[in-house]
């Protein structure tokens, strides 16, 4: 049946993996160190860093938001709830007219419904929404997954700076507003 070659090679592949996992430094350090050699990460004792662009949670920069409702409209799940009102703000220079600005009363994102697609962040014309790679916000109650205005503003601290682009790109790197 010619059983020998392929089967032995298969055993060699798995045997080699055992040796590589137990002795990750090879012949140089023949001390068993499987914690270093394994490719898995012992969560929650150590955690991997997601990439800066990872879509973890959405943060709100309230000063830029004008309650234009574009994000709430474009969301495929309609999980953003916005209520706003108009109010008079002081004039920009002395002796001018008071100007009308939109102020938001309520800006909730329901992360239980959210598809983490990013359309809201993309369509915002005033760059008030940002992605943050934070992913550890699970709650025992589903209702707690509705993040309100203050919680969304807290996420702004975790928003990383935009990375520079690869060579040959014409895109300009955007900036995250300081909180």
């Amino acid at each position: 049946m010619g059983l020998v070659p392929g089967l032995i090679k298969g055993l060699g592949v798995t045997g080699g993996t055992i040796l590589r996992t137990v002795f990750p430094d090879g012949i140089k350090k023949p001390i068993p160190n499987p914690v270093k050699g394994a490719e898995t990460v012992q969560y929650p004792h150590e955690k991997e860093e997601p990439s800066p662009r990872a879509r973890g949670v959405i943060a709100l920069h309230e000063e830029n938001c004008t309650a234009c409702m574009l994000c709430a409209r474009e969301c495929p799940d309609w999980c953003i709830y916005i209520e706003g009102h108009k109010e008079k703000a002081p004039p920009r220079r002395a002796g001018g007219k008071p100007r009308q600005v939109n102020a938001i009363d309520r800006f909730d994102i329901d992360f239980a419904l959210c598809m983490y697609c990013g359309i809201c962040v993309e369509v915002c014309p005033f760059e008030a929404l940002f992605w943050s790679p934070e992913y550890e916000f699970s709650e025992p109650r589903i209702a707690d997954l509705l993040h309100d205005k203050s919680r969304l503003a807290d996420w702004m601290e975790t928003v990383p700076d935009f990375e520079p682009y690869e060579a040959g790109s014409e895109a300009k790197a955007k900036k995250v507003p300081p909180t």
Binding site: G6, L7, K9, G10, T17, R53, G118, G168, E170
Partner: protein
């Protein structure tokens, strides 16, 4: 169109008649085995009703629809960016590849062409989603025939590709990156070197799978000669992708009908195999992964500079018309037929998904095979439930 012999046709009709009889009365001979919808072997909620005689299958019938999510109806009330988000989830392992034919069809209607850099990056991500998808198959095929270790190797090495997709799009499985007119964003610095490293790891993974599974005599005994699909019957049932290339048909939409992707500027070959059995399907897919890694390396070397987005209005209204674009997705040929009436939302989208046609051959293919071979054959046809049921 097909060359099914008289004997095959008669036996098929006899099996159908046996089905009908058994459905009407209580079965007295043979055993009806329900494989699924909850089963480790059917990748998802597929149900196969098999009538057995001992260990041999007399007739088998796939029952689909347990995961129907109503995509084509959903698209009638979603704008184009929202549809792009949703269709990521049709074939959930071939992430980026789902969006490409839809966006290309919409661009065809709008008569907009993406700039060259966008097309090249699209092709890179397209091939990377193929690598991620087929690597899962390579590990999963081992699992179907009983070897548990290749599955772990597949998931371990796929991580590198998924990390790279996450680094550029933000999502590992649902990138949502393609836009009408180009892409959402450009590549971050350092991505090209990291991706080349990931491709090297995938190549070493392919070598491991070759040593562990492909050369293994037990694996060959389980897959050679099992589930042979003759080329004409396969084409008659609408098989596409690696399934039909394993039967000797030299058909690859990337080469024969490129549309918006830059495969014609690369140096690559289409892999075929003459046997048409499960081993051939496995072999063809293994070579395809290797070929894809070489393609990605070529693409990364030749990436042109420039913008990634063409001039398109902010609110996208696709002009009235119809367009159909199909591409060579990892599972087979996937196509989107968009009918637009000039609105923000499409009027009707018909999705031609590869796996739906790929498993239409199972009643014909599973006649007379043993029960363990059902699992091997289903594993080698490689379907994803989301792709079948949409």
């Amino acid at each position: 169109m097909t060359a099914i012999s008289d004997r095959d046709q008669l036996s098929y009709i006899a099996a159908q008649a046996a089905d009908a009889r058994v459905n009407v009365e209580l079965e007295t001979e043979g055993m009806t085995l329900n494989i699924g919808p909850q089963h480790p072997a059917t990748h998802g909620t597929l149900r196969i009703v098999a009538k057995l005689d001992g260990e041999q299958v007399i007739a088998a019938d796939p029952v689909m629809g347990y995961m129907h999510r109503g995509y084509e109806k959903l698209t009638e009330v979603r704008t184009y960016p929202q549809v792009t988000t949703l269709i990521n989830r049709i074939d959930w392992v071939g992430s980026f590849a789902n969006e490409v034919p839809f966006i290309l069809a919409a661009e065809k209607l709008m008569e907009v062409e993406a700039p060259p850099r966008a097309q090249w990056i699209r092709t890179i991500l397209f091939e990377m989603s193929r690598i991620a998808n087929i690597s899962l198959f390579l590990g999963d095929m081992g699992l179907q025939v009983g070897a548990v270790t290749p599955a772990f190797f597949a998931f371990r090495d796929r991580e590198h590709v998924l990390n790279q997709i996450e680094a550029v799009t933000g999502g590992r499985f649902h990138p949502n990156f393609d836009r009408i007119g180009g892409l959402k964003d450009d590549l971050p610095a350092g991505w090209i070197t990291e991706t080349k490293r990931a491709m090297k790891k995938i190549r070493s993974f392919c070598d491991e799978i070759e040593g562990l599974l492909q050369g293994n005599e037990i694996f060959e005994a389980r897959t050679r000669g099992i589930g042979v699909i003759p080329a004409d019957i396969g084409l008659g049932y609408g098989l596409s992708g690696a399934n039909i290339r394993a039967s000797g048909v030299d058909w690859d939409t990337r080469r024969d009908n490129p549309c918006g992707l830059v495969h014609d500027e690369l140096d690559w070959k289409v892999w075929t195999h003459v046997d048409g059995d499960s081993f051939a399907r496995f072999w063809v897919r293994l070579q395809e992964v290797r070929e894809s890694t070489k393609m990605v390396d070529q693409l990364l070397d030749g990436l042109p500079g420039g913008p990634v987005m063409a001039k398109v209005p902010r609110i996208i209204k696709v002009p009235a018309g119809e367009a159909y674009v199909e591409t060579e997705n990892p599972l087979g040929v996937m196509g989107y037929y968009i009918v637009s009436k000039g609105d923000l939302v499409p009027y009707r989208v018909k999705i031609r998904s590869a796996s739906f046609n790929n498993i239409s051959i199972t009643p014909w293919l599973l006649k007379g095979v043993y029960v363990p071979d059902i699992v091997t054959i289903l594993g080698s046809l490689y379907f994803i439930l989301g792709d079948i049921d949409r």
